[in-house]
Symmetry: D2
Amino acid sequence: MEKRKQKPLRSNIAWSTPDRIGVFGYDLPGELIGHVNLGDMGFLEIMGRLPSAAESQVFNALLVTLVEHGVTPSAIATRMTYTGAPESMQAAVAAGLLGLGTVFVGTIEGAAKILSEAVPDPKADVSLADLADTIVARHRQAKQSLPGIGHPIHKPVDPRVPRLFEVARVNGFDDPYIRLMELIAEKAEREYRRQLPVNATGAIGAICCELGLPWQVCRGLGVMARAVGLVGHILEESRNPIALELWHRTDEEASSDVRGKLRSDTPTAE
Amino acid sequence: MEKRKQKPLRSNIAWSTPDRIGVFGYDLPGELIGHVNLGDMGFLEIMGRLPSAAESQVFNALLVTLVEHGVTPSAIATRMTYTGAPESMQAAVAAGLLGLGTVFVGTIEGAAKILSEAVPDPKADVSLADLADTIVARHRQAKQSLPGIGHPIHKPVDPRVPRLFEVARVNGFDDPYIRLMELIAEKAEREYRRQLPVNATGAIGAICCELGLPWQVCRGLGVMARAVGLVGHILEESRNPIALELWHRTDEEASSDVRGKLRSDTPTAE
Amino acid sequence: MEKRKQKPLRSNIAWSTPDRIGVFGYDLPGELIGHVNLGDMGFLEIMGRLPSAAESQVFNALLVTLVEHGVTPSAIATRMTYTGAPESMQAAVAAGLLGLGTVFVGTIEGAAKILSEAVPDPKADVSLADLADTIVARHRQAKQSLPGIGHPIHKPVDPRVPRLFEVARVNGFDDPYIRLMELIAEKAEREYRRQLPVNATGAIGAICCELGLPWQVCRGLGVMARAVGLVGHILEESRNPIALELWHRTDEEASSDVRGKLRSDTPTAE
Amino acid sequence: MEKRKQKPLRSNIAWSTPDRIGVFGYDLPGELIGHVNLGDMGFLEIMGRLPSAAESQVFNALLVTLVEHGVTPSAIATRMTYTGAPESMQAAVAAGLLGLGTVFVGTIEGAAKILSEAVPDPKADVSLADLADTIVARHRQAKQSLPGIGHPIHKPVDPRVPRLFEVARVNGFDDPYIRLMELIAEKAEREYRRQLPVNATGAIGAICCELGLPWQVCRGLGVMARAVGLVGHILEESRNPIALELWHRTDEEASSDVRGKLRSDTPTAE
């Protein structure tokens, strides 16, 4: 085989020397530890710079919203894993994160993608109402569901959404993605003639656009936040377990149709 | 089989109704979103209550320290996974978290365990110097390494440690675990006659004890923080990849002794 | 909230009573243990019945091909994870499996999807040559790469492919998917004027179609097989480690551009 | 920093050249594909050589036993993950594998460790009855449970065990680990005065010792086998889902004590 030409390996995120540690160009002990919070570090990892006070408040609000939803499929996967491998808390958290795919966090991504593609330049002078009409019509025609609107429980308003939009607006993030998201929901409610409020993932997708995050990274916010929440589920499971009971109930019920039955019991013509 | 008696399933972490969401008894939109940061949510998940301002600053400082260490084994696992499954960011983060086991985060746990077992009651009147001597002697006799002291690069001082202890002390977390950790390192340096400063994991373990966290949950801080950092590595990998080059180099070098050799090439007496 | 109506939970895969265990209707001790091999169990899990002798040989041949490819990105992720958490072998294997996404196993799925959609009924009388021409033309026009053909190292022939096709044909799996895969490669070589042999993933995708597996499950063969291979990499890593050296080399090189540099070192006009 | 001396990276598992692929020194197309089954590849990964016909039958029997146990905690974790990320089958399998820790596969390891440490040389002339008495007494005194004996459902005999021992003995693996495992169970039944038959994990641990596998790798057999089984659970979940129903039931019941309750509802003296 001919010799392959090597390419350099480069990562500019962090470095260490005996007496200093740099993270994205900041002095870790001198500028980050004790100065910023965990959410700010998330902003730094995505944007490569620390947030302003306003950005910090808004970005943390998005993360705080995503930390906890009670006994979700993710939390159940985490608790089941912890039951089998209590010595590996990190594996139990990882098991819960693995389900944060297209069904769950996909709608944040989907909303952010639609909004950022509709308005590539937030300063441009465009008719948001026209854009909303076009987006709803296009999805309706393609029989695609619109990400970021509607909720099975939270009706007629998802209680997280007005608060998220308020935090964004108070901090100066006001236009045009939040407004476009609201217009899409209003148009959809008229078109489909049912309650389709902006939901939490729609609001988060819109605010991600306001903050200038690329839509491709929005799933990362869900991952950061949920890792925090799943640690709490492990702690509760260690003190007040539910996984074993859930397992036994499921096993008993699920195999009740076939228990005790074998192919060899059945006389066949074969 | 006799009928198994069902036990109730209980989780008190969170709940939803159409217009409200509760998390550890707090109103999510009204008391958490826009009011607290991601690190505070981590404290809430572990302690079941929001931190005071002082606790918030100290707890966030611990997490901020653990977010990022550059191209670690975890970051490499994440980048390798992302290369094969770029559609599953959550899986790439999970792959990186899976290595946060006894070798890495184990030393935080180990330090916190030693300290909290030595001083079960932080208000008790005990001789910390005597405890430090006993702990070092016990580990030396058993030929066990002491978690939380010594560092291959950061000598004679781990630059994160004075800053972490400063943040703790300024916020009123001053005794006795930090002092005991320092005394252990001093005693160990005298006994082993080499530089064995308190390292970052030792400092974090000690401060966890100051905050009243159970030592069993300390690994969770590493998991929360590193999930945030690994998202940044995925973003950098997507823009400036290193995983493929690293793979090709490794594959070329690693199999160089055996490439082209088969058992069937070798005449044997069998 | 109105009361939700419960649905029954059903799983017909396996059951236990005090003296018997059934798996897909087979008596585990009496009909499976000592009677079938691990690959046959994989066939059973997918098809719900045991394979014939011919099916067993072909299905195992597919799996055997996928077990091992040396130090792949998956193997590196596994070894990095094992280094941090040697107490959790299962987590190290899981980390390696997580990268089996669209880039790697996607081409098996892609090939199987193209072939099974082109020839829904394997008994139908169709012109495979015409189908191959259409498929190549469609991908060329859409500037999409064709899954299952071409290989960076194995040229002009992927040595696994003639053997896989031989095993399939000897066992009576001969038509039409293998032939169509070959015709696609031949047409593509003429169109693109370069060596584009059927590769291992193309051959496996075609043979999956011959066996009647749904294309959606083809990724599962890669997962089954690679789980077996990754255990071997953990064992070798435990005896002759490479992960730490690989980490140190990467860290040293990757941060060489930024090491020691801080934003605060740079005078700015801000 | 002083320059670190690089160490060579070596992995002798597999290699590729344009027309050949070697795996543990075997020619992959010529000696493995179509010649051996998936279980044999597992033996090869662990022992570095292909099994004899007898070894192949016994080793596959162990794996076949471990593939499937119905709706286990692992299967539930896999199904929950699949529900959130149906595009990532590999992640769903990985989530299920993560729970194969000390609680589940630990007993195989534990049994194999006890047996291999008690009889380091299988040819040595020792009194197995005396060894069994000592092992049971030691565990009783230390109030440690004995791995590999007793089962909540399978009493008075685990139906897998006589079959596993039969397959081993028929193939010439007859002494002394199987006998010692039986003697431990007999002694324990007399000492504890209850039914404590050798269970499947005890039998598998004993047979691993007969085959000469190091006890440290026994967990790997569970990982290999269960990866195969979990693919079947994903397929069933895709056709006949249970995860969503299980989630809704759990969420409804688990938060019933706290739903609608907030701290701020409670007048306090604070």
